[in-house]
Structure formats: C-alpha cells, structure tokens
Amino acid sequence: MKEDLLDIVCCPLDKSELELEAIRRDEGEILEGRLVCTECSEEYPIEDGIPNLLPPDMREESAA
C-alpha cells in the first residue's frame, strides 16, 4: 500500500486513525508492516502490500 492511503483508512472497530509501522518498503510501496490503531492499539498487518483490515475476529486464518 501507499503511505498516503493513511488519509482514508481507519480502524474498522472504532474508526480512529491508524499509524504506520513499515517493515519493508519498495519504491513508495509498503510491502510489509503494520497499521496500528491510535485509539485501541489493535494491529492490522500489511501482507505483501495488501493491508488486512479485517476485524480481529475475522482474521484468524490469514496467519497461515
């Protein structure tokens, strides 16, 4: 994902802003990292460039 998408995404649970913790970048794309809710601290993974913003109760199988 591109960093400027932080302007439109939010935490699916409380709709608060998300903070980016980038682990791997490539040409302006964040390929691996985390989006962390500034309110509830829930972490949403960025996997192969795709933010996984499923609420935690729907996310379990994506770890595989």
């Binding site: 994902m1 939010c10 699916p12 649970l13 709709k15 795709i50 913003l53």
Partner: protein, 220 residues
C-alpha cells in the same frame, strides 16, 4: 437469513465458491447489465470509488473505464487473488481485506461506493448499508446490486438456505433503516426466465447527523 450468518462458515464458503465464481456470476449478472448499472452510477473521472466485495474484480474492470481511482475491498483472500491476477497487487487499483459491515475507511472518504454481488452474503445488510452511507460523502452515490427474490422453486430453496434475496419492498426497508432518503431500484434481467438482479441507486443525504461510532464487536 441462512447459514452464512456465521462468518467463519461464510469465509469457508467463499474460499471454495471463488473457484467457480466468474463462471456462475454471468448467469445472473453479465457485462451488459454491469454497464447499464455503471451508467446509473454516473461517476466522474477522478472520483474516488470504493468497490465493496470486489471479489474477482468483474465490476472493478468496469469502474476503471469511468475513473482512475478505484479501491477494492473484499473479505476473502481466495476472491481477491483472482483480482490481483487481473490488476496486480500494487497496480492502479488499491486492494484491502476488510468487512463490509465494519469498513476500515474514514467518514466521507470516498465520492461514490459500488457493491455488486455481495449483499446476499452479509449477515446484517443494514449494518453494511449504514457503513456505506458513512464513508461516502454527502451527495455521493451508493449503488448496490443484489439478487431479486427468485420465481423458480430451485432458486428459492437456495435463496432461503444460504443467501439473502430481497424484493423492492425489502430493499426499501433496508435502505431506509440505514438512513438513506433518496433511492430507486431497478430490476435487471439477462433475459426472461433467468434470475433477476435488483440494483439500488441511492444518494447519501446531506444532513450531518451525529455519527455514533459503529458498535464495536463485543469481546469474544
């Protein structure tokens, strides 16, 4: 509502369903019907559009003919992988995994919202429609395509077992309950005797009501 009320089951269902989705899908919803709906949707070039339940990207392709900024959201990895194959993971379309009923987008963050062939799987469609109203700017268009309640017994059985099918009266009820005031329904059909789609085109009301945070999921 049927067995997909359980989200874990829904995910399993999509996982297998995605393998035949583009084969089954044109049966109800083909390119011609999609393009008709795109004309009703009427987005301008440059509009930011969110495609909820973009699945394998059938509608996404059509949306790209109207605007450059399309964001696709789907809960299913299996469905999305087909879309990635078409558009790339870091191409023109930006993809997200997420839940239609708890959208990970800020209030008034998109100009228009499209969702086709997805509502029939949502456990609580009104919750999703409320979310659509929230993330789309006032005056923006929300377009939802779902399956009309079928005439044939076979499809009625399928409908009652696993999916939500609805007629115009039920669509009226759901959109009104979600806070929409202006909307119209179009019945679309490939040819007589085939399953019908019901396409609702709604305008997000200007009135800025107090936005309660969507009720967070109760702790498991």
């Amino acid at each position: 509502m049927g067995i997909l009320e359980n989200k874990a089951r829904a995910r399993l269902f999509y996982k297998y369903f995605s393998n035949l989705y583009d084969t089954v899908n044109p049966f109800i919803w083909n390119e011609e019907m999609r393009d008709q709906a795109l004309a009703w949707f009427d987005v301008d070039a440059g509009d930011r559009v969110l495609d909820v339940g973009c699945g394998t990207g059938f509608a996404t392709e059509g949306l790209l003919q109207h605007t450059d900024e399309v964001h696709g959201l789907d809960q299913s990895d299996g469905q999305l992988s087909k879309a990635f194959a078409k558009f790339g993971k870091q191409g023109d379309v930006r993809f997200y995994r997420g839940d239609a009923e708890r959208l990970p987008f800020q209030t008034n963050s998109v100009d228009a919202l499209w969702s086709s062939g997805s509502i029939e799987y949502w456990p609580n469609p009104v919750d999703a429609l409320e979310e659509f109203r929230r993330v789309t700017r006032p005056g923006g268009t929300v377009l939802v395509v779902g399956p009309d309640y079928p005439d044939s017994t076979l499809f009625q059985k399928l409908a009652d077992a696993i999916m939500l099918f609805y007629d115009e009266a039920e669509a009226d009820r759901m959109f009104a309950a979600a806070g929409f005031e202006t909307f119209e329904h179009h019945i679309q059909q490939r040819k007589p005797g085939t399953p019908r789609a019901i396409t609702t085109v709604a305008t997000v009301p200007e009135s800025e009501e107090t936005e309660p945070a969507r009720d967070p999921v109760t702790n498991p």
